[in-house]
């Protein structure tokens, strides 16, 4: 069970970070002026949002190695932690689509003036994003982003379907060894509630630390 918690935490942290990165990239693509990039971003979101995360986990675990050259596939399939890796990848691609959608609405909430101001101070396009737009995007999008991350945490339980040894999987193992299904499920549920509580409190403190008057931004936007 304890190793289960450890694996769940590993899954959680790595998917959070990687899906944030991927989601940011996709979000920037979706608002970019280049048509191909925009189309690609939209396609990505439409595909990955409309297919369950469970499917992506199964896909990366069962099908993906088959698509690779055989030597690599055998190496992957015999790798002990491949379920975990597949879980991370699957959850990331699923979560990133939601993250990018949230960030895109965060980007749209930023007034035009910010970008114009950034251009007029002579920042390049990349610098604009790094110094001006991205921090504001994240701040504006923080509440739904936090929600999404908690959702993602709950989705880590799906990794039991591909035998990644996390909490839910440990529960099933305990049940099949000792036939104490209810006790094991109760303990696992407790773990989940505790961890979710910790996550929510972290997000709330983050929100307080990064507090900014979001309402004023969005109101001026809707007014214009």
């Amino acid at each position: 069970m304890i190793t289960g918690v450890k694996i769940t935490l590993i899954l959680l942290v790595s998917t959070t970070i990687s899906s944030l990165l991927l989601g940011t990239v996709i979000a920037i693509m979706r608002v970019s002026r280049i048509k191909v990039l925009r189309a690609f971003g939209t396609l990505y979101v439409e595909i990955f949002r409309n297919i369950p995360g469970l499917f992506w986990l199964l896909f990366f675990y069962f099908v993906f190695p088959d698509l690779l050259p055989p030597g690599l596939a055998i190496k992957l399939n015999t790798y002990t932690y491949y379920p975990v890796v597949a879980g991370i990848v699957g959850l990331t691609v699923d979560n990133a689509s939601y993250v990018s959608d949230i960030l895109r609405s965060g980007r749209l909430a930023i007034p035009h003036g910010q970008r114009e101001a950034a251009i007029s101070t002579g920042l390049g396009r990349v610098q604009q994003y790094i110094h001006v737009l991205l921090p504001q995007m994240f701040r504006a999008a923080l509440p739904p982003l936090g929600t999404r991350m908690v959702h993602n945490f709950k989705n880590t339980s799906l990794c039991m379907a591909i035998t990644a040894p996390e909490i839910t999987w440990a529960t099933q193992q305990i049940e099949s060894l000792t036939f104490r299904g209810i006790e094991a499920t109760a303990v696992a549920t407790l773990f989940y509630i505790l961890l979710a509580g910790v996550m929510v409190s972290i997000i709330i403190t983050l929100e307080k630390v990064l507090k900014i008057d979001i309402s004023s931004i969005s109101h001026s936007e809707t007014a214009s």
Binding site: F55, L58, P143, P144, T147, M160, T168, I182, T189, T222
Partner: protein, 265 residues
């Protein structure tokens, strides 16, 4: 010919063994989602409304239930009902019904949050005006608040339905013969058809979810979500529903005394 052969058991993905045996495949997914949506709508509205109640003995159990369910993964809920329902109903609960019940319990908590957010987004003046025209509280809710709240809730309701439909795939864990299970079984029995199996799974889910979300967008436009712009920040925030607690409970505290006082008037 080879390609057609790959998809030879397309009926199996779509309806399972339906005309001869049990329903399965994508059809079962749709049935499960539909049943769960219907039941959980009722429970969700009840829960969400009673969460706004100013009587503590109604409010606290609702809050406890909603928070408990929302911080537990769906798989856990499915397991709970899988273990518990046989105790309650004496051992002959089919897997299908335990899946539907758990989906329903899961969805009700989320819908309660949406309903609550929707009711709270209706300006306070509306309720006060309705009460001052001499409507009873029930009538005020029924004819004034809920129609307005419903328009606000619609987008988040639909996005939740889409995600609920996707979540029906999780029920394969307890052995419901739906699309995911079918795909896995086919891909394990006939490893040469693995790509076809996964492709049909993906396309099945994608088509349904995509049409649902696009119909929803059209419906939204037609129903004319009135001044959604002014409500946007809230609506956005509640789209995925795990609302940051401090802010919402803060608002709730502001809200409840006023509705109590207007009640006593």
């Amino acid at each position: 010919m080879d390609l057609l052969d790959q998809f030879s058991n397309i009926n199996f993905y779509l309806f399972g063994t339906f005309p001869k045996g049990e329903v399965g495949g994508l059809l079962l997914n749709i049935i499960m989602a539909f049943l769960a949506i219907c039941f959980s709508c009722v429970f969700g509205i009840m829960l969400g409304y009673s969460r706004l109640s100013c009587r503590l003995y109604i409010k606290l159990p609702c809050i406890a239930y909603i928070e408990l369910v929302r911080s537990t993964p769906l798989i856990m809920i499915i397991f709970w009902f899988y273990f518990f329902l046989p105790y309650l109903f004496g051992g002959n609960v089919t897997v299908f019904w335990s899946a539907v019940v758990s989906l329903c319990a899961y969805a009700a908590a989320y819908q309660a949050e949406i309903v609550r957010a929707g009711i709270m987004a209706v300006p306070k003046g509306q309720l006060e005006a309705a009460l001052s025209t001499g409507m009873s509280r029930y009538n005020a809710m029924r004819y004034v608040i809920l129609p307005q709240a419903f328009k606000i809730m619609l987008p988040s309701f639909v996005s939740f339905f889409v995600s609920l439909f996707k979540d029906t795939s999780v029920t394969y864990i307890i052995g419901v013969m739906e699309l995911t299970q079918t795909g896995i079984i086919v891909s394990q029995r006939q490893p040469d058809k693995i790509y076809a199996a996964y492709l049909s799974m993906a396309i099945g889910f994608w088509v349904v979810c995509f049409t649902m979300s696009h119909l929803a967008r059209r419906l939204e436009k037609r129903i004319g979500v009135f001044d959604l712009e002014s409500i946007r920040p809230d609506a956005c925030r509640d789209e995925f529903m795990l609302v940051p607690k401090t802010k919402k409970t803060g608002e709730g505290v502001d809200e409840t005394p006023s509705c109590c006082s207007s009640d006593s008037k």
